[in-house]
Amino acid sequence: MRSSQRSSRVRASGGVTRRTLLANALGAAAVTLASENAATQERPESAVRFGRLPNERGSRSPAEQPARMPSAISSRTPLQDLHGTVTPADLHFERHHAGVAVIDPRSYQLLVHGMVDRPMTFSLDEIKRFPSTSRTCFLECSGNFGRQSGERTTVQELCGLTSQTEWTGVRLSTLLREVGTRPQATWFLAEGQDAAMMTRSIPIKEVLDEAMLAYAQNGEALRPEQGYPVRLLLPGIEGNASVKWLHRIELADQPFMTREETSKYTDPLADGRIRQFSLAIDARSVITSPSYPHVVQPGWIEIRGLAWSGRGRIQRVEVSTDRGRSWTPAELQGPVLPKAHTRFRLLWGWDGKPTEIVSRAIDDTGYVQPEWTALQSIRGRRTRYHLNPVTGWTIGADGRVLFAVERVTA
């Protein structure tokens, strides 16, 4: 106490704010009272001293430090640590091909050209002056299926390359009206301003109703790793196509056949064909709790998870607590938004016997999340993108939860 008074005196001589004086005075008063009435007032530690005054920017509790899981090319969202459906902006997964680009918003401009009546450039300020729109949806990387750690695979490693955000920006259709799309234009190239100059061809008709140029996520400007200052945002479509650091849009009458839509992000099938422009994300679900490395006790357990579909709304999530022999519909947390992470829950009384818990999603097209073996029979063994098999967790007699490896082993 004495030392803190001394330090406040030092600060006062160097110019002290009214806020600091107020805090010191209140703090000193509180401690004095606490020591005089110690015998009569038992208080929790947090209630003994006046707390921190309001500040400019908040921070997490030191006890809560969820973190992304980074590799050389991506970082994964800690889905096991999150509640509800929104991903905090600083925990949104990252996937970039040549690092995070640094762009000065004052010199930023977007070029729109090709099969248009008026090739034009737009500054960031001009993009923000267009009528704006917001959309809550998931964004998922096409390669979101990890299980390197075998039975010690976490939710984050399994599918942390999906995140959910309220995006704000301008509709692509608004921008295309401004430049005047020629009737023969059926595709556009989106190009990023990063060192990879990422390019993807997008079919206009398929995305025009929902595509936007986003400049904000969860209420604030995009994070640099999410494409600051402007990114393309295509709800329901594989993440790579939502080109970040967007600086050029070129309209054309056919796809450009860039590397990321030919030798990458395509699906070799068992019959020898290679499927291309597999843009829509098929329905998927994952149980986020309990999951490895949890240890559970017999009794009531709320099974919690996330489900999503790039084709529309999640209609139903079914959970099995007996290795897939019988299935029970889980409760869906509303509102269930289209092309959005949907939280599901099922209350389960565990009898303490070893078992496996599994979930499967059904979307409003009637699509049922497939078993690994069904996917494999169509796609063959060389498939590496767009994998959405049913997954689950084994629970041992000791309550240890492990990733159910056999379920996704050929």
């Binding site: 091909h97 040549a98 070029l111 729109v112 050209h113 008026r118 090739p119 034009m120 450039t121 737009f122 001009e126 002056r129 267009f130 009528p131 608004t174 009206r177 401004e178 430049v179 190239l189 190009e191 060192a195 990879a196 100059m197 390019t199 050029r248 070129e250 054309a252 450009f256 056949m257 860039t258 590397r259 030919t262 030798s263 395509t266 070799p268 099938l269 068992a270 019959d271 020898g272 064909r273 290679i274 499927r275 291309q276 422009f277 597999s278 843009l279 829509a280 098929d282 084709r311 529309g312 979307d363 097209t365 009637g366 699509y367 049922v368 497939p370 069904a374 169509i378 063994r381 060389r382």
Partner: protein, 195 residues
């Protein structure tokens, strides 16, 4: 009287606001005409028909040195891969990659990779990508001749062209890539099917 007047003004204002919200303009008058010079500078993509390919030339023989200096450290001296992707390698003639026969053939060869020879449908994409993004330490620094020649080297090592064939804006789009016929559009539609 004054109160009624103000109410009338407020009502008129609301009515006009509603009317204008119902008829958004076709255009907002934002943005500036793009100068042709800017479009030419930024429009560097190359299409399968060769649109966008610059003047220049190169053979596989020319490309060996470029590859050794700029690519081998990550992709291996012979394109066998390392820190970065495998680039060279193809199946025995007559065996289609990824079909049942291929699965049979590669049963004893678990690590047969995706390469330029078996998974790139357009030679023009090689030019586009190398010029756009390679080498990662200094993208955009290769000359057009260097890109043509290193693309020629990759095509030759995959047995697609000879070491002497000259790659130019005219010849590159005509190169027949082994994987070309295997690419098909997405046939997934949702509903009760697994694809």
């Amino acid at each position: 009287m004054t109160r009624v007047y103000y109410m009338f003004i407020a009502g008129a204002f609301l009515a006009s606001a509603v009317t204008s919200a119902q008829s958004p303009p076709q255009r907002y008058g934002l943005g500036k005409p793009a100068p042709q010079e800017l479009i030419t500078r930024l429009d560097t993509d190359v299409r399968p028909d060769g649109t966008g390919l610059p003047p220049g030339r190169g053979t596989a023989s020319d490309g060996a040195g470029v590859y050794a200096r700029q690519c081998a450290a990550c992709h291996g001296a012979k394109g066998e891969g390392g820190l970065a992707d495998v680039l060279v390698g193809a199946e025995p003639p007559g065996i289609a990659p990824f079909g049942p026969q291929y699965e049979q053939w590669r049963r004893d060869r678990p690590d047969v990779p995706f390469t330029v020879g078996n998974f790139w449908p357009y030679a023009t994409t090689l030019f586009d990508y190398v010029r756009r993004a390679m080498p990662p330490s200094a993208p955009g620094t290769l000359s057009s001749d260097e890109v043509y020649s290193v693309v020629a080297w990759l095509l030759a090592r995959n047995g697609i062209i000879t070491d002497a064939e000259v790659m130019t804006a005219e010849s590159l789009p005509k190169v027949a890539m082994p994987a070309r016929g295997r690419f098909v559009p997405d046939d997934r539609k949702g509903g009760r099917q697994v694809r």
